[in-house]
């Protein structure tokens, strides 16, 4: 029996994926989850259906029961649901009562480049508690074909499908990880500017509503990408209860809130009241340059937390980095995927939040 190198690689990836996805006994088991259609935040069309199938298969291999795609599609068409980047309370309640699912998985593809060198990034968030939708678990992956070139560039991935499977496996593994803790923040990605008010304390887990990030960069969806990465990282913090971004979106639509120059205090008050949130997170993406033609990505964003009680900004950062920061020899450690860079920056930014106070 002969086995081609490509098949062997795929088999190894599947095996590695299978070994990672042993369901955790510590996490509260979910009966069934619905996967909403993949949210495309790239600038080009992507094979959404293929990714959807890959995601469903990977979750099922990991022991998660998934609502059949036909039933999900039927629900979406019956409720005329077109926005799949988040879920509001009304929709989550309807989904739970009509299909019996107790969780909704939202997948966002942040970048996707099939031509060599391939690049892919995605985030997965699992929203539960239909009567008060909040993100319970999250996972993200951002890979490129040249991440680990190895000796004589033998580690470069020429087959994009392998990279795609690897990325989905990694994101699902992080989503189902029992510890769920965010990785360690690296100093080189620490915010350039930081303001943290001493009044910002986490005596109890605080409810955070994530608002859209304003995009001033030429890259379409850069605001959504940074917001998605904030969601993925915030959901892992023990001092935070992260409300699904769909709830904030619904409140803004219902109250006709247009935040052209940012959130005003009146608008914030409406959001605090409707969402029962303690903090609002918002920001601006000023620069989002993807690595093209052998360059490195460059990102600049600001983020602020507005508090409900004092109606003041209690935390503000400005983060700016490039993929070559902290790289000195032979391009070792260069970050080629802009989403990976953004993820590191977001993680380092959130590491500046005070930890939860033990009573």
């Amino acid at each position: 029996m002969t086995l081609s190198i490509s098949s062997f690689k795929q088999l190894m990836v599947l095996l590695a994926g299978f070994l990672c996805f042993v369901p955790s006994s510590a996490a509260t088991p979910l009966q069934q989850v619905a996967i909403l259609p993949v949210n495309n935040l790239t600038t080009l069309p992507i094979p959404e259906e293929r990714l959807q199938i890959l995601l469903r298969d990977t979750l099922q291999q990991a022991g998660v029961s998934v609502l059949p795609a036909k039933e999900t599609a039927l629900f979406l068409s019956q409720h005329r649901l077109r926005y799949t980047g988040g879920i509001d309370r009304k929709t989550a309640m309807a989904l739970q009562s009509e299909t019996g699912v107790d969780g909704v998985l939202i997948a966002k593809v942040l970048n996707y480049k099939e031509t060599f060198p391939g690049r892919i990034a995605l985030t997965l968030t699992l929203t539960t508690n239909a009567d008060d939708p909040r993100i319970r678990q999250s996972g993200a992956a951002a890979l490129t074909a040249r991440d680990n070139p190895g000796l004589f560039e033998r580690g470069i991935l020429h087959d994009f499908k392998v990279l795609e499977v690897r990325a989905v496996n990694e994101a699902v593994a992080k989503l189902l990880s029992p510890s769920g803790a965010p990785g360690a923040a690296r100093q080189r990605y620490a915010p350039a500017l930081l303001y943290r008010d001493p009044d910002l304390t986490f005596d109890r887990p605080l409810r955070i509503a994530l608002l859209p990030f304003k995009n001033r960069s030429p890259r379409p969806y850069a605001g959504e990408i940074i917001a998605a990465l904030f969601a993925a990282q915030l959901a892992k913090l023990p001092q935070v209860i992260l409300l699904d971004p769909g709830t904030a979106r619904q409140t803004m639509l219902a109250n006709r809130l247009i935040m052209e120059g940012g959130v005003s205090l009146d608008q914030a008050q409406t959001l605090f009241g409707d969402l029962q949130a303690d903090l609002l997170l918002t920001g601006t993406v000023s620069e989002y340059v993807e690595a093209e033609n052998g360059g490195v990505p460059r990102i600049l964003f600001t983020a602020q937390l507005l508090e409900q009680r004092t109606r003041r900004i209690l935390w503000s950062i400005e983060s700016r980095n490039s993929g070559s920061d902290g790289v000195f020899f032979f391009e070792l450690g260069t970050v080629l995927n802009p989403c990976r860079l953004a993820e590191e920056m977001v993680r380092a930014g959130l590491a500046t939040l005070p930890p939860r106070k033990e009573s």
Binding site: G262, S264, Q304, I313
Partner: protein
């Protein structure tokens, strides 16, 4: 007893040294980066606790230069911990309510009205004069030039203004090339320069 040899410079050498020192001082004065701004001697700056940073006027070719520098300025000012900076959305709401036409040059009445609506002790307006790449021959480098002023909201008077320009083509850029410093770095240097003049 041995007498110490007396060091005597010739008159010509002394004269040359004086001329050289004078020329050096003259050139150093010309190279000075810090520009002295205006600071009202009667103003108690410690009483300013809440500041609204209005949108910066943009005279450069870069479309978002005003917004970018305003963002950096607001975050840097907040990061000092000395004053509280209102969220930009709240400032936008206040400007719409006060019907302020030009954010860079509000009238005295506008400044007082806006201060009342926003409950701010002072307003900061700014103008981005240069933002982007400058060229000289075959050499190019990034440059930022920005000026800001603070208006006190009780009387609408200008109590402080400052100017900073950073970047540009230096001696080493001409000699070795390299394109100067990144835009974000010099923007932050310019903003730090302005804030240092305030505190």
């Amino acid at each position: 007893m041995v007498a110490k040899p007396e060091l005597k410079l010739s008159a010509k050498l002394t004269h040359a040294l004086r001329v050289g020192l004078g020329a050096l001082l003259f050139f150093l004065a010309g190279c000075s980066l810090a520009k002295e701004g205006y600071r009202d001697p009667n103003m108690d700056f410690s009483s300013v606790q809440t500041i609204a940073v209005l949108p910066f006027a943009n005279l450069s070719r870069e479309t978002n230069a005003g917004d970018r520098l305003r963002d950096i300025f607001s975050t840097s000012l907040l990061a000092t911990g000395g004053v509280y900076v209102l969220p930009s959305g709240e400032v936008a709401r206040g400007m719409a309510r006060a019907n302020v036409g030009t954010a860079a040059t509000p009238s005295v009445e506008d400044a007082i009205k806006l201060g009342g609506i926003l409950k701010a002790d002072a307003l900061i307006t700014g103008v981005v004069r240069e933002y982007g790449e400058m060229r000289s021959g075959s050499t190019s480098a990034n440059v930022v030039a920005v000026s800001v002023q603070m208006l006190e909201t009780q009387s609408g008077r200008t109590v402080w203004n400052a100017t900073s320009s950073r970047g540009g083509i230096g001696f080493s850029d001409r000699l070795f090339g390299g394109g100067g410093q990144p835009m974000n770095d010099i923007s932050e240097q310019a903003v730090n320069d302005l804030i240092n003049q305030l505190f």
